[in-house]
């Protein structure tokens, strides 16, 4: 019904390689999220799946039939997909009702008028726009427009749904509600979802698998936990939530346990698991990646021999709090609960949970330079 097989997909804009030899297998009924920095090629990939862009190389196969290749592209209306466009693509000359009912009117065999009306009413209710049917898009707020776009794609219950940041303009509560509705719809109809989001939380909580793209290249394609806890690269680690990248030197490496004894830049020594496929040599410069939630803070006591740090910034987010600690040259982001009582300049001790850290080859890319990744 909705198995998507992407092979060697590439797309260039002029000299720019926007999507580069992308390969993805998406099983029927799966919820796959494309995740990656702004401009990495997510929308382009989605548009190739939809059939709006002809790939320069590679193929897209759905249920065994090649739908896209450089020579031949099955036209979008014959793909039975649905899509939420990043820019909504609402029809300004049609009312909300007309926008949403459009897809139903295209269905064969023809639906009865009343059925259409009911289904539109139901989906508008789902997205919280009951009673807005007669408005025109220009009379709606930004978030309302986005929900119309969402409703329009959902109402036909296509076998494959492509969603390009469909919830970006909604508030947290509504987003949560919409996520539930999406999952509910998926449970009921077994739609294959290809979802683009910039929201790590969304990606983690909804996806069966996450595809992390960077500059058009697929960096990792795995279930959420694996992407989060066993990132394939510093880049993935870095992109999937906040992370501290601490320069370190390998003291020794124990192959059987795949654990390296490292000395961190600021002096601490830890036994940290190496990233998949990486075998550091003794004496090698490496990067130790530790997530903020894997570091705990204790009040500093004089006798403590743990490294001291100075609190350089406290950011209260409500349900939790981030502290930025400074030890010598290194800045560490630490996640704490929301009733922590710290101030700038306080001295604290901290513990890094070594089992939740990873050792990567020394990173050279500028983007992972700590200074740029402050909370």
């Amino acid at each position: 019904m909705g198995t998507i097989e992407i092979k060697g997909l590439s797309k260039n804009y002029g000299d720019l390689r926007v999507v580069d030899a992308l390969g993805l297998s998406i099983a029927d009924g799966q919820f796959v999220t494309l995740l990656g920095p702004s401009g990495c090629g997510k929308t382009t990939t989605l548009r190739m799946i939809a059939g709006f862009i002809t790939p320069d190389e590679g193929t897209i196969t759905v249920d065994g039939a090649v739908l896209s290749s450089p020579d031949h592209v099955v036209s979008p209306e014959n793909r039975g997909m649905g899509m939420v466009f990043q820019n909504y693509a609402l029809w300004p000359h049609k009312s909300v009702f007309q926008n949403v009912v459009y897809g139903l009117r295209m269905q064969r065999p023809k639906l009865r008028r009343e059925d259409m009306r009911d289904r539109v009413a139901a989906i508008l209710d789902t997205v919280g726009l009951a009673g807005y049917g007669d408005r025109f898009p220009g009379q709606l707020s930004g978030g309302q427009q986005q929900r119309v776009a969402l409703a329009r794609s959902l109402v036909t219950e296509p076998s494959i749904l492509l969603l390009d940041e469909p919830l970006s303009n909604l508030d947290a509560k509504l987003r949560d509600k919409m996520r539930d509705e999406l999952q509910e719809i998926q449970r009921r109809t077994n739609i294959t979802f290809v979802y683009v989001t910039h929201d790590q939380t969304e990606a983690m909580s909804m996806s069966d698998r996450i595809a992390v793209l960077r500059a058009g290249v697929l960096e990792q394609y795995a279930p959420p936990r694996q992407v989060y806890f066993r990132p394939a690269s510093v880049a993935v680690a870095d992109f999937m939530g906040l992370i501290n990248l601490i320069p370190a030197r390998v003291e020794s490496y124990d192959r059987p346990t795949a654990t390296a004894e490292v000395e961190l830049d600021f002096g601490a020594r830890l036994g940290v698991p190496a990233a998949d496929g990486f075998e550091p040599a003794a004496g090698e410069q490496v990067t130790v990646a530790v997530r903020p939630e894997s570091i705990t803070i204790r009040p500093a006591s004089a006798v403590d021999e743990d490294p001291f740090a100075e609190v350089s910034r406290v950011m209260m987010l409500g349900h939790l709090c981030y502290c930025v600690l400074r030890i010598g040259e290194v800045e560490l982001r630490v996640q704490t609960d929301n009733h922590v009582d710290l101030d700038r300049g306080d001295r604290v001790c901290f513990d890094i949970d070594p089992r939740r850290a990873s050792v990567f080859p020394a990173s050279t890319t500028s983007e992972s330079a700590p200074a740029k990744e402050l909370v």
Partner: protein
């Protein structure tokens, strides 16, 4: 040509996107084929004729034409007139369009109507009206000046390059107003507001944001104005010939005096075709570099500027202009239509409604001609706009190999003087065994050929404003290409299409050069009827008939606007 290789905005994304559906290919293929048949086939006969006909091949016509020293004077005059008309039309038309579309100026409907009327007044009639007003010896204005100042001669002379240019531009400025205001209607106020908040004055926003955003419409209308003024015969002849100001069209027309020299006339016309192609090339080159999408995927706001204290000055300015362009010639027309004899002054015993009775009730021709005109102009406008939209779509969205050629083909007829095109059409269509010659169908074909440029250029400028994702959303929802076109793309282009429809309709109602060659008993058009009357010297009846046509056409346009009003983008 380089214009398609320059780096291009989002439309390029769709450039190589092949549409799979059969119906799409059929419709688009048919449109392209129709265009080729409509334009290439008659053009073939023309060019063949200019190259010596079927039996011999020679460039002698071209040599003859270019070696004529008089040509260059005529060419320069023609270019001066066209450029002048272009400038005047833009300078007057753009502000009017802006006022109508984006401000709270009172009486927008009236201004729109005046614009249409300026376009409807037949060239020879408005030329005549200005003769009455500004003829050097006896023009009313001159007499007024003379009687007031006691000068020996009045300052105005309509028989001059500036005079011709002015009269010409009054007849074509509607292109600018109609296309530009259609385009301005679909500009999201957001883009203006984002400039305002940065401190830009209205003037700066107008010049730097709003107008540049409607460049496609500006260029399309400038092209139409320029090329149309190049090929216009009526006012050039009436106002230029008497004082030996010759232009390419008057020279071309003089070649049709017996024995007609079709070869040379066509060869000379190729000069105009060349100018047309050059203009289009320029237009494409400018437009290729940027994107002008004003109707995007997120709905915006549409707000009108409050003119504030400038409101009444603006109203006065507009009507002062229309006083010249419309009130005056229409006034002359009206007076003439109420006179027993023109030239005798409007006295009580010279006042009559007989002319109206004569054209309305005494002549079955008028009624028949009116019906024919409605049928032909209505269908030509509708088909022309649809065909234009499809051609523009092929050219701008699909860009298959050779689409450019379609665009050029679809514009060339604009540059051909009516009589030349008529010759090509007769030569082309009379030969066919199918009986189109001598029926209304031939007129329809001819009008489609003649006015497809208006359809294509209007559609093209409208299409450039629409974000392609709106159509894509239709297709991913399962709508075939055809349905997306019918329900999304065309409705979104509505402003431009209605403008195009009106332009074609008005032109077709007044078209004479082709009709006079192609009409037969039973297929007369209203323009033919008017011409017949004027040929026979019944100017008063001509005026009455013209007034009636003017009123009827204005009503039809008003109705069309009303029917299609629910403005494209509902803000």
């Amino acid at each position: 040509m380089i214009d398609d290789q320059t780096s291009k905005p989002p439309a390029e994304r769709r450039a190589r996107h092949r549409r799979g559906s059969v119906s799409a290919k059929l419709v688009l293929g048919a449109a392209a084929a129709a265009l080729v048949v409509l334009v290439v086939y008659p053009l073939f006969w023309l060019v063949l004729g200019s190259l010596g006909g079927t039996d011999k091949f020679t460039f002698s016509n071209y040599l003859r034409v270019v070696s004529d020293p008089g040509l260059y004077d005529a060419l320069i005059n023609t270019l001066l007139i066209a450029t002048g008309a272009c400038v005047i039309s833009l300078v007057t038309g753009v502000p009017i369009a802006w006022l109508i579309s984006r401000t709270n100026i009172p009486g927008k409907g009236l201004l729109r109507m005046l614009t249409s009327v300026s376009f409807m007044i037949p060239g020879f009639l408005s030329a005549l009206a200005y003769v009455m007003l500004m003829a050097p010896n006896n023009g009313w204005l001159n007499r007024l000046v003379v009687s007031v100042t006691g000068a020996e001669k009045g300052p105005f002379n309509i028989y001059s390059l500036p005079g011709i240019t002015m009269v010409t531009s009054f007849g074509v400025m509607a292109y600018v107003v109609m296309l530009t205001s259609a385009a301005l209607d679909s500009v999201d106020s957001g883009v203006e507001q984002s400039a305002r908040i940065l401190g830009a004055s209205r003037w700066k926003i107008l010049m730097g944001i709003t107008l540049p955003l409607v460049t496609p419409a500006l260029l399309a209308s400038a092209l139409l104005v320029f090329v149309q003024s190049l090929a216009l015969f009526g006012s050039h002849a009436i106002l230029g010939l008497p004082v030996q100001i010759y232009t390419l069209p008057t020279r071309i027309y003089s070649l049709f005096a017996f024995p007609p020299d079709y070869g040379a006339a066509t060869a000379l016309s190729m000069m105009l075709v060349l100018l047309t192609v050059g203009c289009l090339y320029l237009q494409r080159w400018v437009l290729a570099r940027r994107s002008y999408i004003t109707t995007g995927g997120k709905a915006g706001v549409h707000e009108t500027h409050d003119l504030g204290r400038l409101k009444w000055p603006a109203v006065i300015g507009c009507h002062a202009f229309f006083a010249l362009a419309v009130y005056f010639p229409v006034g002359v027309l009206l007076l003439t239509s109420l006179m027993t004899a023109q030239g005798s002054g409007l006295t009580l015993d010279n006042f009559t409604f007989d002319n109206y009775f004569a054209v309305l009730f005494e002549s079955s021709l008028t009624r028949r001609a009116a019906i024919n005109s409605l049928i032909v102009a209505g269908s030509a406008a509708t088909l022309g706009v649809l065909l234009g939209a499809l051609i523009a779509y092929i050219n701008f969205r699909l860009k298959p190999r050779g689409a450019k050629v379609l665009d050029y083909l679809a514009t060339i007829p604009l540059g051909l003087p009516g009589i030349v095109l008529a010759v090509g059409l007769v030569l082309a269509w009379i030969r066919l065994p199918v009986a189109v010659y001598g029926t209304l169908a031939i007129l329809l074909i001819a009008y489609l050929t003649r006015y497809i440029p208006l359809g294509v250029r209007s559609a093209d400028s409208a299409l450039r404003q629409i974000d392609p994702s709106l159509e894509e959303a239709g297709r991913i929802s399962g709508g075939s290409w055809l349905r997306s076109m019918a329900e999304i793309t065309l409705p979104l282009m509505k402003g431009g299409l209605v403008a195009g429809w009106s332009l074609i309709f008005v032109q077709a109602i007044g078209e004479l050069a082709v009709a006079i060659m192609l009409f037969t008993v039973g297929t007369e058009t209203i323009a033919v009827a008017i011409y017949q009357r004027s040929e026979e010297g019944h100017f008063e009846e001509v005026a009455a008939l013209s007034m009636l046509v003017l009123i009827a056409t204005a009503l039809i346009l008003g109705l069309t606007r009303r029917l299609t009003r629910a403005s494209v983008t509902r803000f």
